[in-house]
Symmetry: C2
Subunit: 145 residues, 2 copies
């Protein structure tokens, strides 16, 4: 079991796919991703193929993409980090929603889960980000009542 890592850019795709596919229930294709991330469709296809090689998703060419269990776990970790950071920026530092998201995006990928868990504890284990999306729990972070 070699640890497979995902690049920062791939992480962006993963977070987006999770939001669209799992949270919004929509089918996600490479062209949608390209549009959202402002790259050419061919570029999105390439990244998707890499994520597929890393077993983060199942890719059916011409049809779309579906996260695997591994991909879902990875996306949730990333989104937990992102959303905890959003809460920090929004509640504590009083940034607006947009800016909270932007600042969180810059560091979520780089923050260790321990750091995130410490913020989570310090701010009372919030369970939603500023835009009401779920903040996933982490086994190492104290349970909520």
């Amino acid at each position: 079991m070699v640890k497979v890592t995902v690049t920062e850019n791939e992480a962006r795709y993963l977070k987006l796919i999770y939001r669209k596919q799992v949270e919004d229930g929509s089918l996600v294709g490479t062209t949608d991703l390209a549009k959202w991330l402002r790259v050419r469709p061919a570029t999105a296809t390439e990244v998707i193929q890499n994520l597929s090689r890393k077993n983060m998703l199942k890719y059916r060419p011409y049809h779309g993409v579906e996260l695997t269990g591994k991909g879902i776990r990875e996306a949730r970790k990333l989104l937990r980090k992102h959303r905890i950071l959003e809460r920090l920026f929004f509640d504590f530092l009083k940034y607006d929603v947009r800016r909270s998201c932007a600042e969180a995006s810059k560091i979520d990928y780089h923050a260790s889960m321990d750091f995130i868990n410490d913020i989570c504890r310090a701010y009372g284990h919030p369970d939603q980000c500023p835009c009401q999306k779920t903040i996933f729990s982490d086994p190492l972070c104290e349970k909520r009542r």
Copy 2:
């Protein structure tokens, strides 16, 4: 005036050069850098040449390196971020010095100065990191008495 940016890796070099040259007063050569950063001398030379092209330092081949005003300003910004984050990890989250430094290193480059300034205010404008190095001030962060 085009904004010149430094990569995350180049930032590592810059921080290190500042600490050694300005704070410790030692002459810094490419081979020293290579040793500290665990790369081959040829690799360090290459990075130094890039930093030189970006006017962050003066490079005299075979002799050593000297930060320019621009390089010093950039290094101080980076070290301010790094050291404020160290304080956060050390004081607030109770990490030890080593780990505080490690965690800070992962995100210092990516954190906006606004975020850093907010942490700085929240923790009473500390002027030293956990290992007693100076935390440089920022014009947008409330003055200390």
